[in-house]
Symmetry: C2
Subunit: 492 residues, 2 copies
């Protein structure tokens, strides 16, 4: 099991790929660039979905569902958005197969079933949604329109990696419409906070909130807000984005409303999304050389219980006690698995659940049964402790909270020690190559400089932090005037 | 509002189409045959999903996610299945767009980005899933494999209707693998029971469980089990199917396992699904000329409360009391909406929530406030009653149960009086044209007779009921020998 896992320091990228497969999270499918999300990986996604969905609903959003396909003419209506995604679009051109006359038992695309207009498999849904909103919005009374969609999208990426970059992925995309510019901006910022809370309180992943530079902005957006996490190998990961779209889509699809004052005005828009990529971020934030480390708030199994026994009688006696404990823990809303399979040895099970990142592991043998004790092990620190069975519920509740906090603190410490202020380009390059992490540096504000730095170092501007202090300085590359530092990093 | 709804007896089909749109459930999109599921319709789907998902998990199933696309060579591996779906497949042939040199600002499919192998947008996922299962199943220890997927699928239907038949629809598809034939058959039957329970206890829709005839079977199945509902216009609707697939897919994808006895054997399979079509069934089972009628167990809003007031002071005073009631009802897990919008009059709101099928409507005015009363109206019977505010929680809980039961009983009574035994083809045709519903008749068991009856009457064999009694008789069409009656009907 875990001993075959490549060590992080040997090859972080290989470690990640192996871990995703060995922990049964996902695997590559027979379809280029598309993954199969296996039950254990999907269970994490379900936990993420449930929390996010609750947060969206608590902030007044409703779910809906829009078509998978976008007709080409609709897709190209907002030119910048279309241009941004055109190079990675899967295109449906035909609607029927027929028997291949030259190849018995095989099928071929029926040339007589060519579509009059090609359909794009949605890479994102602004176009189809705003073409629909045109029918929904007439008056200020119809606003705000606060809608979210859970869906699959397709972007034909050339280099793919499980969860991090796949041709098809699962996500949620919010699309809101507002009467006022200020309301739309407030919405984009509200969602950034929702994403930030989710990342920090559920994923135990500290994030920096910021704005993207023009060249990193979503195609068609006026401003892109983002949350950026830092992975253990010093590379940044964009974990969620929230876009203020201005009136771009309203103008492209002619969506106007009658204001309270009786005037016809274009609607203001936002869109925002997080995806199955978050599972990749979760893995790379906490896991170690033994396998996954999952924060209790998102772990599909929070506690696993393993009986240690030689005889069937011992197993029966232990099981009676364990079933009591299982029932008590479940009453508290804790997700417990009792693994009493006899086809696997305890040692194998220990390694298995370490690999799968279960936060707490309880073992109970015949002596524990006699003594009224049990052994409990933390996945994050690997510490083991013998405790009285009487205190187990209390101990588990307390320790799950501790693990959640500990994981966040550990990740935060790493992040805090990996933001380095530099004032020269030599230092910039050195820190990037030796220490990694975020580099806080002055930048002259031009896309040209950003591009040159990227070409030379592969580092991009991850964001202009929202809480930035304004300070005079000189661009780390050109020496031109700058008013604030921005965060550079190599990124996933 | 509702007064503009076409009456059912005038034109049932028009009534349905209008109702779906007016009640804000769904609408046609700008993409041929694809619908937009609006928030209110999607909320019903979410309720359905939550219950079904719970039932699947309670019976040992896990969720996973498989790719949207199926390479053509994989799709055609199980020939019968491929043949069954070939004529309605959306096909992706290209992966990039480019600027159209002859048409500034427009895009065209890039001819240099043609896929080597076409990708089929999944009409169902047996092929992609069984090609994956090959890697997951080696030994009897890997079985049973009990997996479900919530996904969108595409079938290029020529005549579409909101919810009932759309090119893209949402569904769940279960795909299980078993060591023994008997286990697979038991699984297919278990799921049929889950579907039956869901239809009867949540949708309040009585269903007949049965087997499909060969010509109505799922392409690639050995046996197709189904649940059939009866709509108010006397047409049947297939609400869910569960297929015993034998070893067809295991053979097509070479999925073998080592048995306990050390032998290599092909795996046995099932697949099963229900879709957003259920929303169509729900509407047509209960709704009336005023609009939707929703069973409380699936209603997104179970109770709506409307204040009746002239002055702001009155509204404030009423709101204090109503907010107390809202809190008490919510504590009991009841979903309540307090509609205190002042832009709409009470009368407008009454019609609105009637149209939307909210099971209970509470109204409270200044006099109620004085007297400690309120008015409560049932959507199913349209009865109104004045009750004491003190008893409201108890009353609501009891009445929601009564409504749920009443809707089921009403639908059951209709169904029971619309199963007609006939023994001649004249009678068959007469009952079909005048009374409608299920016709219970002897059939000689041949696809030819089934086909001829269909051509002449548009009625198909909906199923051979599982609880059928064996009785000798003569085929209603050919006079040949028959051992049991089957159920014919016109169907959605």
């Amino acid at each position: 099991m875990s001993k075959n896992l490549t060590k992080r320091e040997t090859d972080y990228s290989k470690w990640y790929n192996e871990l995703v497969v060995k922990a049964n999270l996902a695997e590559n499918s027979g379809v280029r660039g598309c993954m199969v999300i296996k039950p254990y990986g999907y269970a994490i996604w379900e936990k993420m979905q449930a929390e996010l969905d609750r947060m969206f609903k608590e902030t007044g959003h409703e779910n809906a569902y829009f078509p998978l396909f976008v007709p080409k003419s609709m897709f190209e209506a907002e030119e910048k958005n279309a241009e941004g995604f055109a190079k990675e679009c899967a295109v449906v051109t035909h609607y029927r197969l027929k028997n291949d006359p030259d190849n018995q038992g095989k099928l071929m695309v029926d040339p007589n079933a060519k579509l009059e207009e090609e359909l794009i498999v949605r890479p994102t849904s602004e176009a189809i949604i705003w073409s629909t909103y045109k029918g929904w919005i007439q008056s200020y009374r119809d606003l705000p329109l606060l809608i979210n969609q859970w869906a699959n999208v397709v972007r034909w990426e050339m280099r793919t990696r499980l969860f991090l970059r796949t041709a098809e992925f699962l996500w949620q995309e919010g699309h809101t419409a507002h009467a006022l510019e200020t309301e739309a901006i407030k919405e984009a910022e509200l969602i950034l906070d929702v994403y930030g809370n989710f990342a920090e309180n559920f994923m135990a992943m500290p994030v920096i909130k910021g704005l993207k530079t023009e060249s990193e902005r979503f195609a068609g957006a006026i401003e892109t807000y983002c949350i950026e996490g830092l992975m253990q190998d010093g590379k940044a990961l964009q974990a969620g984005t929230s876009h203020f779209l201005g009136q771009n889509f309203a103008k492209a699809f002619d969506v106007k409303f009658t204001s309270k004052e009786g005037k016809q005005e274009y609607v203001w828009a936002t869109s925002w999304g997080v995806s199955t990529r978050l599972i990749g971020a979760l893995i790379m934030t906490h896991s170690d050389d033994l396998g996954l480390v999952l924060p209790p708030n998102l772990a599909p199994i929070q506690v696993v219980i393993i009986p240690i026994h030689k005889t069937d009688e011992q197993l029966d006696a232990i099981s009676v006690k364990i079933n009591e404990i299982v029932a008590e823990l479940r009453k508290k809303g804790i997700s417990v698995k009792y693994d009493d399979r006899t086809a696997y040895k305890p040692g194998w099970k220990f390694a298995e659940y370490e690999l799968k990142g279960v936060p707490l592991r309880i073992a109970m043998g015949p002596k524990d049964l006699e003594n009224g004790t049990l052994e409990i092990a933390r996945r994050d620190t690997l510490e083991k402790q013998n405790i009285s069975q009487v205190t187990v519920v209390e101990y588990v509740e307390k320790t799950l909270k501790e693990i959640q906090d500990n994981l966040y603190q550990k990740a935060l410490n790493y992040r805090e020690t990996h933001i380095t202020e530099v004032d020269s380009f030599e230092e910039f390059q050195e820190v990037l190559e030796t220490k990694g992490g975020f580099i806080s540096a002055h930048w002259d504000g031009t896309p040209e400089t950003e591009e040159k730095i990227k070409d030379l170092t592969k580092a991009t501007i991850r964001c202009i932090p929202l809480n930035n202090k304004i300070e005079g300085g000189k661009c780390v590359f050109t020496g031109e005037k700058s008013t604030q530092r921005v965060l550079f990093a190599k990124a996933y």
